[in-house]
């Protein structure tokens, strides 16, 4: 049972890290939809702001994959 709990905890943590990696961040908070939240943080990144059109694609593809793979409302 303890091993199962450990696996569930590990899987949950893994999922959270996975979500943050979608948009290249170290962490995220769940204030709105997590994909929208992560996208907003991606746009805030200084590096991304320096390359506007690339930033939209870079962040946008993360948003699309996030919606496809792990939209929590589903």
């Amino acid at each position: 049972m303890r091993a199962l709990n450990r696996k569930i905890g590990k899987a949950t943590a893994a999922g959270l890290i996975f979500l943050s990696l979608f948009l290249g961040f170290q962490a995220f908070t769940l204030r709105g939809g997590p994909c929208e939240e992560a996208l907003g943080r991606c746009f805030d990144d200084v590096f991304i702001q320096a390359f506007a059109s690339f930033g939209i694609v870079y962040c946008g593809i993360g948003f699309a994959f996030c919606k496809k793979y792990i939209d929590p409302a589903e």
């Binding site: 199962l4 899987a11 929208e36 946008g60 593809i61 792990i70």
Partner: protein, 320 residues
Amino acid sequence: MNMRRIFMGFLFAALVFGQAHAAGGGGAIRKVSLEEVLSIGGLEDQKLFQWTGVATDGAGNIYILDAMDYSLKKFGPDGRLLKKAGRKGQGPGEFMAPRLLACSGERLYATDQNVFGIYVFDRELRFLEKIPCPSLILALAALGDGRLAVAVMGMASPGKVMVLDADGRELSAFVPAGGPGQGILMDSMSLAQDKDGQFYVAFLFRDSVEKWTREGNRLWSKAFLGQKKIATTEVQSLALPSETCFKDVALDASGHVFVLGGKLSKHPSRDVYVLDKYGALLATFTLPDPSHCLHIDSRNYLYARANDGITLKKYRIIYD
């Protein structure tokens, strides 16, 4: 004599009908159901952590990209882990965010979310090369003889479908845009190609499944969700689609089109719409668990996700 002629005529008609049905994704299907035949990964083992892409070869081996493990894994037809390759990194054969996977002949093709290119491995998971691609890749299909089809995100222009040769040179391209709901990310799509070289495109944020010729002519466009306008959310003054329509498209061996519905389906990420090659809806069925993708192998086994990506399920497709 007449009876013999009638019998021979009947036999001939039956043969012709049977051939047409087998080759053309005929419309005789009324019901589709699934029978689970294999499950890989679970809470009690360490086989999969968050799988993203799946592909199969002619021998029944199953290849899986595991995003949490930054790896490509090979499983035998019985579900036994045979080999694992890759690690976190940006070097040859390494992954930061593995996403899409396809297999053709002896080669496996894998994408990483933020990499402009396609990684090529052999079936023993040895890294061979990276095929360059000018844009980030949203969808991938291996077309045989080394050619690949990719759906890419546009920078300042709409996304497009490109056919690349084995060296990454663009052979042809078309822009499947023009339907309802234009705007940022509205061209996010999945794609599949049939034996005639024609493309099926399912849009992630648009209630539209379309068929295109390889020259870029749209043959048909169908909507199945009754959504004329997709809800949007504003993020930093950009209106972004907030609900998904179709998550993936795949073809069975007879050319039937399987489209996985997204959040706007009755059963989000579980409803599958089965179409014939003309876009007519033949049947719908519901996956036991939500999935982000569908894969159908050459023997008509369907692969989908369970347990939020910890498990991959293999099903036999049953046609009635």
